[in-house]
Symmetry: C3
Subunit: 372 residues, 3 copies
């Protein structure tokens, strides 16, 4: 391995957007095939129906290549053997191995999606790293809808309380109609009307644009970084409306609050442009890198195009099987080494340049922006 | 060549979307320069006006590199010599050589574009492979417009009759206004009105959205795979409206009928996302690979991103010069070998993984989905 | 270096879209850090605030790699040393070195952005190359607004006079609302009304769609090539509305006038499609190549996809620091050599094919289209 490769391998990461891994479940073996294969497909929210559908994919091959050795199996082992070994070890031991192998010092945990996942305390204990909370705005909205009295006041109070112990907020606007249209701060009278309508309808799964916009602008006032799901995700997301270029006017009016564009596939080049155009915009390639597997390297290269190097972060967006928390790091490290070794071999970058950029993305940018 | 390369070279293909090659024409020499060079430009439907315009392109260079040896010429031979040799051999012999060199066992032939092309019987005879029909929905519509009585009933009757002997249907909605807007099943009363209006206007070249949507939903009921032209094609296609992400709602409501996204350039990553998100969505890179020539390899790599490997198929979309039927296969094989050799060399995939994926894309996926 | 590399290195270029370099300024040292680092960020129009923000980017690393040796510094020298040397040499000497190193025989200068830049006479003197003017249509419009009498007549008169001594026109419609919507020739009565409204409002920074369209169609009548800013640029540009596919109808109706799509990132593949679909459409990757730095090579490859090779041109879009005039050429040469060496090594192109394409893009296409 190149000296640069050694540097990348030993870099301690801040995973600035992640969820918990699966909580051990006495009713489901750790190697349950339908559950595991379904988790290998991010976009299709229905369970897989045919054995092998999940494993016949880039991420399925990556699990067999890169995760098997951590379970004492040979590289590229068959899926049956892999799952049997998962059951033998149990979820807790599997998670312990993968989380510790990721080389992450700090996990910034979006707690808005937590069903069946460990909480931040368990993640700390299992991984040996620190955890920090990221508050999901749409969850705050649901809490405000369930609270008594004025919606806006309740939202502000809950947000203030939750954000006090958190490092950032997160929006899943991409899943609630996307980025097209007016994203300005709505007038209070409209917020009142929309809140009343939503409360009357039950106050679950926020899709009202007025209230979504209200939440974003309240988050901007906090000053803490605001994360946006961008691009690739599950089928609820209309990918055409999750193009970050549609956020351009919002970004222009977002002041100094750092805005973090997450995932970004297939819009990573568009996101890089926005990171150059707006002094407060950042991006990562989390989740995308994991699902690209053997094709992650050119994607990692494209993250290094227009975005200034102080605006790029690392995340895994791992959720569920702890393989994802590990693969995010594993494939990012490999991709960075291949891309940067190429730049250095071509004489385009010095080796010192390359190490500097590795350090920025691995942890320095996140440490600065999140004030860790 | 690598062992994997041998495997790719010997894979027998199912070309799941193709047209006939040129029928021999006593009035036009096989090496007619304007006709041949014009065929090298897919997008511009006007004849080329300057000698060399067609050959000065990726596909023109690919013809000289990969087709010349099959006509007993040296690789990279000049265009003049190439065309002279075409004339010497004649269209029938040229077609015989290229079709047989493609290594295709089954051709799924879209008969909706057939002007000057051989029919399926001649394609069988010349290629030595089997042929199967793909019925173009817009052609069924024109036949229904010309039939007596109720349009919808006539459409159903003609579609049932034609589809009985066919393996799939095909839509060129991309060329008839694109994918934006409502693609729901229109109410019968609207279909009646639209059909009357179209019949009054002559009943040719269907562009009415109501009737286009009607045809799509009738095809869905058949259960046989429904192919969509997506992305790159000729100038009649508004490429901005041929982004497959605009099909998302239609795909969500399409039930179990397999939907095949064809060509896909420059939206191959978007199409791959849809193939992951929807259990009944598949994709290929036919036509695009041919026209990309020396740049086909990274495109083949991008086809192997989010799409599960059981959802990717092979096609050439060859139409006209039989060079295209051959080049589709030639460039796909080379691209696959280069991409997968890279994955294996990097330790990302095992060699067995790579062969498995080759087999899936070469024929297994098509055989399963089309029930061949 | 390969023989092909030698051929690329010695190719004399026509830079078909460029601006002046910085004029020497007695009040600002040539190595002024804020000014220089701000110039390294194309998209963010505000000055950089933190030292290093500009240099920590692909173009910043490219300056240190490729420009430092021309200032007698070692490759990859630190930013402080680089800027100090710039001040030592002074702007005039710095410009002289970079402009002459670019290997450009002819500069086609967009004079519509000239603040703080040398004029065409100085560019000729400093570079040793010839200069030719490109007239910016929106500047003609402002001159017509300031002229007495009928707006349309004034526009025609000014355009005729300025274009007589120029080789092309240029539109920044991308910065004035983008390409979506009707781009047809507006009726004279509407032009009169819009012109009156604009004059009443002061007649600066044209954003009125009627008048923008009017200018485009007047330019089409000239017959001289019409350049469009496409894609990547500064923050004033709504990148989502700068997708060249939105120009499709305009291009279809543009007759024989050559239309040049500039920059194109991240829409270079879409632009290549348009260059194949429309006989009068051309493209380049100027500005994008410079800012991509070490990642320029795959971008250069993507420029060589669907666009016929007679439709691709070279430009730097250099403006300001003469480093950009040099880097455009430096990174284009390196990218072309790497991409084409790969094509030849793979057996896809002959070495003669590669040299032919280099010659077309370096100068032959520009010489033919601009009648130089």
């Amino acid at each position: 391995m190149s000296e640069l490769g050694d540097h990348v391998e030993s870099a301690v990461l801040i995973d600035h957007h992640v969820h918990g891994c699966w909580a051990p479940d006495v009713d489901v073996p750790a190697g349950d095939r339908i559950r595991f294969e379904s988790a290998l497909n991010e976009a299709d929210t229905d369970p897989v129906t045919a054995v092998g559908d999940g494993f016949d994919s880039q991420v399925g091959f990556a699990v067999r290549a890169h995760c098997a050795p951590l379970l004492d199996l040979e590289r590229h082992v068959g899926a049956d053997r892999y799952l049997a070994r998962r059951t033998e070890l149990g979820e807790a031991e599997v998670s312990r191995r993968f989380l510790r192998a990721a080389g992450v010092s700090d996990w910034l945990v979006d707690t808005g999606f937590a069903d069946g996942l460990v909480d931040t305390g368990e993640l700390t204990a299992t991984s040996g790293g620190s955890t920090h909370e990221v508050v999901r705005l749409e969850e705050v909205a649901e809490q405000a809808a369930a609270a008594p009295g004025d919606y806006a006041a309740a939202f502000d109070e809950i947000l203030a309380e939750r954000a006090a112990g958190a490092v950032a907020t997160k929006s899943v606007l991409a899943y609630r109609g996307g980025f097209a249209g007016d994203l300005g701060d709505p007038p209070p009278a409209l917020v009142d009307i929309a809140a009343q309508r939503w409360r009357d309808a039950g106050g679950t799964r926020l899709t009202d644009r007025i209230l979504l916009r209200f939440g974003l602008h309240r988050a901007l006032r906090l000053g803490k970084p605001l994360q946006f799901h961008v691009g690739f995700g599950d089928r609820d997301c209309d990918l055409h409306a999750a193009n970050p270029l549609l956020l351009n006017d919002f970004l222009t009016d977002s002041g100094d609050t750092p805005i973090m564009l997450l995932h970004c596939y297939p819009y990573e080049r568009e996101a890089g442009y926005l990171a150059q155009a707006h002094p407060n915009v950042y991006l990562d390639g989390g989740l995308s890198i994991t699902h690209l597997g053997a094709q992650a390297t050119p994607f990692v290269g494209r993250l290094l195009e227009l975005a200034p190097f102080r605006k790029i972060l690392y995340s895994s967006d791992g959720a569920g099987p702890a393989e994802f928390h590990h693969l995010g790091a594993r494939l990012w490290r490999t991709g960075m080494t291949r891309v940067l070794d190429g730049f250095v071999a071509d004489g385009e970058w010095s080796a010192a340049d390359a190490k500097h950029v590795v350090d920025l993305i691995a942890s320095e940018n996140a440490r600065r922006v999140y004030r860790l």
